[in-house]
């Protein structure tokens, strides 16, 4: 455990709050969350619907701004940054996978994977694309259109799209929500292997407790607060092995 605690913190949240108005009512979607995510760990965020999982993920992803609290990503405080400055933080640091795959239907698998490079104004290297697709188990699918793929394959393309820009942290919000059990397990296995083999940091939200506990650490939210933090099976298994 001490080894894990010595790894540098890549994302740090302190007193993170996200409140918003719904009519005359103030909804406390997130109400003071302290959380450190360390390099090379896989963290699952669990909790029932409305517990604040997606709100937390959105804040950690710099897709939304906190009402209160501080958030540091890769050593940079993101408090008070404008939309384009938040894009700068995301670019190259964070990769995203969502429940709906949001692949562009008119682009091939390879073109979808390369899309972030277009926005990052980096040259497209088809060999690198092929390698990323191979990494997610989609060899030979680069020329296919999304409609020619299964749900599990489309989510793998989304993972490849998140990986192409070599982010430090992969953030996945309910990535198995639209997948069956077998495909869901395969996605989690893929995340685990990315953490294990490439030292990627993965933060994933899920309703599925069984999958969630496959991570190194499990953070449980309730009513916008962290109510439990515990080791996942992966870390427990590693500890037992030692």
């Amino acid at each position: 455990m001490s080894d894990e605690n010595n790894r540098p913190v890549v994302i740090s949240a302190r007193g993170l709050k996200r409140h918003y108005r719904r009519g005359s009512e103030t909804v406390k979607a997130l109400d003071g969350v302290d959380l450190d995510i360390r390099e090379g760990e896989m963290v699952s965020v669990l909790g029932p619907s409305g517990s604040g999982k997606t709100t937390l993920i959105n804040l950690l992803s710099c897709l939304d701004a906190p009402t209160e609290g501080t958030l540091t990503i890769a050593g940079k405080s993101v408090a008070g940054l404008g939309e384009d400055e938040l894009v700068d933080v995301r670019r190259g640091t964070l990769g995203f996978v969502f429940q709906k795959f949001h692949l562009l239907p008119t682009l091939t698998v390879a073109e979808n994977v390369e899309l972030p490079l277009v926005f990052l104004r980096r040259p497209v290297d088809r060999a690198a694309t092929t390698a990323v697709l191979a990494r997610v188990g989609l060899e030979g699918r680069s020329g296919h259109l999304p409609r020619e793929l299964s749900g599990g394959q489309m989510q793998r393309v989304a993972v490849a799209r998140a990986l192409i820009a070599k982010p430090k942290v992969l953030i996945a919000d309910e990535p198995t929500g639209n997948l069956d059990k077998a495909n869901g397990e395969q996605i989690f296995d893929l995340f685990r292997s990315l953490v294990r083999d490439e030292g990627l940091t993965v933060i994933v939200t899920t309703h599925n407790l069984q999958l969630g506990y496959l991570s190194d650490r499990v953070v449980t939210l309730e009513d916008g607060r962290v109510v439990k933090e515990e080791k996942g099976q992966a870390l427990a298994a590693a500890g037992a092995a030692h």
Partner: protein, 416 residues
Amino acid sequence: MRYLILAMKNLLRRPVRSALTVAGVSLAVAVAVSLSGFNLGYARAIDQSIEKLGFQVMIMSKGCPYEAATMMLKGGTGLLYLPEDIYAKVKSDPDIASITPIFVGIAQKEGSSIRDEDEGNKSFSIVSGIDVESFKVMKPWLSFKTGKGYDGGHWFAQDATKEVVLGYEAAEYEQRKVGDTFYASIVPNGKTEPVMREYKVVGVLDRTGTQDDGTVFMPILPAQEAFGRMGELTIIGIKLKEFSGAKMREFEARWLKLPEVQVVGLQQVKTTLVSLVGTAQTMVAAVAAIAVIVAVIGVINTILMSVYERTGEIGIMKAIGAYRGDIFTLIWYETLAICAAGGIFGCILAVVGSSGVEAAIKALIDLGVSGSIVYITPQVIGYAMLGAIVLGFFAGLYPAWRASSMRPVEAIREGE
């Protein structure tokens, strides 16, 4: 370039919708190009017709100036006559460089060399009685057709009574060559029955692109005699030594004193014709403006729909690293692509359909000129393309702004 390809692929997502929007822009551009082509072509046709008349000023019997103008430029049947002695009086004016008297009469084609298949469809030939020497001075470009059956063509002698020279189209229509006999069915003034007359064709003119092509020329005296209008003229064509507004007004003031006479400057003719057609042009311009507005609304609607359908994707694009400007550019390119495609197809449509437009305009309005009236220049095409792109530039602003202003988290949530 990569954004442009991305934009094009996005448009291909809904090909029918995109094609219909492009068609709307094409139609607006085609109308605008055709209208501009007509404006240019009509002014050009008037200029050419006036230039080919050979004179700058006409003296004619009082009547409708528009009718007078069209009669001279294109031919007509509502002829008025003035006494021949006016010619003698005007001839001595010191400002005149050259002057020619012209007698115009209308012969029925029915009963002439060629009989129409449709007996009820009587058509007419314009017969011009001219003074050869002064007429040649006015129109030095007139030349005689050569080749088999046409060689040896020449003007008739002024005292000839049974000789005619045919304009290019008149000869084609009558299928007459040099040496053939030309028959004219003419109703003399004051009579009801036509008299068939025979003339020898002594020459056929080359094509001029003016009403001269359809005219039958003969010396002035036998023309007056055939039509029973001895001592009468239709117009007196005049070229002034110095042609300016001031000189024209002076000349006009001198000769308007004569009773039953009007002095018509050909610039005035042009103004009259242009102003008469101006109302129609304004209406067509209004239609074109409405078409452009409808096209712009169509483009905005299509792109906005496309933006709303792709809300989630736009959110994802922002999440994976697109700046607001990137999304703005992408959506803007889509609008520009639609409008540029509409511009290209619209210009092609206008060029390909210009002969149809010309036929339609000529069928609807008597424009008073012969020759082509739709003239689409590269400049017109260039302006139309520029206009289409400017249209896309403005039509794309709002959808692009809407898309780029979407907050990624909300866009992704809406797209879920």
